[in-house]
Symmetry: C2
Subunit: 344 residues, 2 copies
């Protein structure tokens, strides 16, 4: 990708060095899966620098072995059982709080954690601060569809929103689709329960009106079925509906795939037939695997922040680091800032 | 099933004669698919009477051939393009308005239509009236899960609701699960974005509190993934979220099944293997087929009212008639009335 710097000089984005800070303590398989993912990311991108935060004994030996990797030892860990906002205030030397601080100080361009979503959200919002003009940061997620990936937001940061928040989510989601998914002119839709502008809740009707006036590329309402149909590039909704959608998708895929597997192994002849089909079905599964899209970006904070699923394996970590580098090189934060200010 | 009448006498519900009024004009394949479904329903239940509403030339010959079927000719049709509430007021001699009128007059016990959901909702609410104490009727749907079917409501009647409406939805959904699905003590949950009572939107928090106090069998919050997991029997939500969930489920199943079919037919060896698996996969598809659960009941009106999908085939019509008869014989309306009054 070619971008222009502040002096208007064009250059290939992949020549810019990017520093990504990684929380080595977050997620079910930390630190092993995290470090495996970092190793693969370093191998794939020669202009990538990594700073690890976490327990000295976990990250020190790894950093010593990899020349573009530094260890920033921390003494505290925020667990899944901690109250997010309280833990962020109390555990100042935790891998999450320190990581977000490194971004604020300009020592890292981006932060990734597969730890507590609430804690990362609180630490990034407090630590990095919000982009000027953004009232509410939002969590986006990339959903694989049969046609092309879709950006859905908010998926859980804001359970109660106003129409003006949804307009900002639209700007942020469009910026992400452009920079990370490479969609030049993203088609942006509002999740609603009918096609016409007069359909839906009072919030949805108000948001439809505001988005029609303020959001470039706004194509109108999308319905539940459009989430997997690949008809648009960005779908905007409140964090309550978005979170229900995300968890329903996870649940449905898992349950349907499980039942298909059961059907395929219910007899010897079925098992033999399933063996023939396995390569094709594995390719399908890989194409639909959310791990390929590397975690959920917290959009609207000053710095790139990617939140990984608690179950993130090394592949998800590598993808998240690639996505973070793309976001930094494509100037995601600056793009959101100017989109929000223009409309502001 | 055994129920007790007003004098306390127990009797088998299947000996009670039920009259179901059917809109022969509603749905993509009307009247053929509707009449085929009616024929099968009449054959399956000797105590079933049918009144058809619709164009004389469509329903007359069919009714003449079937002794337990009467034709009530109407001259108007409400189409999918009509504004529901306006059409219900303007087209007094339409198959939908007349059908709801027959229930109000006591000439039919239940009404089924695969026509415009909005129009059926408006006609039933205006024509049959609400059950005393019910502020807002809600549309429920039965979702097949791997374990057992689930009642989800509201799926679209009320985009904006209050906590007290959700409490009533819970009573109505529980009554439906008991009477139609035969679940003696339904586990009722609130759709939310976290397990704890303090999670979610302000509405969800308030509803959680109210349901804890007022809803028997309330088990707390359910998340998106619980919709297909079969962990509870009834999930209550607002009509906005519920409608998004319903359409997302339809879209996901369709898209995933389509992609699996593509993968299975991508080569000759795959096609041969798929042929071996076909019977097992067909059984799975049938088990997950929403047509088996026969349409979406509009709960809270004075009379049984079932709304079919526009694409309803004859099997869906037969199922809907069976479900309507079960609801009448199990005294759904009376059960909802007493549940709402007790709490009121």
């Amino acid at each position: 990708m070619i971008v222009r710097d502040k002096k208007g000089l064009a250059y290939m984005t992949d020549i810019r060095t990017v520093t990504v800070c990684i929380d080595a303590m977050g997620g079910d398989s930390a630190p092993e899966a995290i470090l495996d993912g970092v190793r693969d990311a370093l191998a794939a991108d020669p202009k990538l620098l990594i700073i690890l935060t976490g327990a000295s004994e976990s990250i020190g030996p790894f950093a010593a072995l990899h020349e573009r990797c530094a260890a920033h030892a921390t003494t505290e860990v925020i667990g899944m059982e901690d109250h997010p906002a309280q833990a962020v205030r109390a555990k100042r030397d935790s891998s999450i709080v320190v990581g977000c601080g490194l971004v604020r100080e300009g020592r890292a361009d981006a932060f990734f954690s597969a730890g507590s979503t609430g804690a990362v959200m609180a630490a990034a919002t407090l630590g990095m601060g919000r982009i000027r003009g953004v009232s509410r940061p939002a969590i986006a997620t990339v959903i694989p569809t049969s046609a092309h990936p879709l950006v859905l937001l908010d998926v859980g940061a804001n359970a109660d929103v106003k129409a003006e928040n949804l307009v900002q989510f639209a700007h942020m989601g469009a910026a992400y689709a452009r920079i990370v998914l490479g969609v030049l002119e993203p088609r942006v839709a509002l999740l609603n329960i009918g096609e016409e502008p007069t359909k839906g809740s009072m919030l949805a009707q108000e948001a439809h009106h505001a988005m029609t006036e303020q959001v470039p590329g706004f194509v109108g309402n999308a319905e539940g079925r459009d989430v997997t149909a690949g008809t648009v590039d960005v779908i905007v909704t409140d964090g309550f509906t978005g979170n229900v959608v995300l968890k329903l998708l996870e649940g449905t895929s898992k349950s349907l795939m499980g039942q298909i597997r059961d059907a395929m192994t219910s007899s010897l002849s079925n098992k033999l037939a399933a063996a023939v089909l396995k390569p094709s079905l594995t390719r399908l599964k890989e194409r639909l695997d959310p791990e390929a899209y590397g975690g959920a970006p917290l959009l609207g904070v000053r710095g790139v922040c990617i939140i990984g699923h608690g179950s993130s394996g090394s592949r998800a970590v590598t993808s998240a680091i690639r996505v973070a580098s793309q976001a930094v090189r494509g100037e995601l934060t600056e793009t959101i800032s100017s989109a929000v200010t223009t409309e502001g």
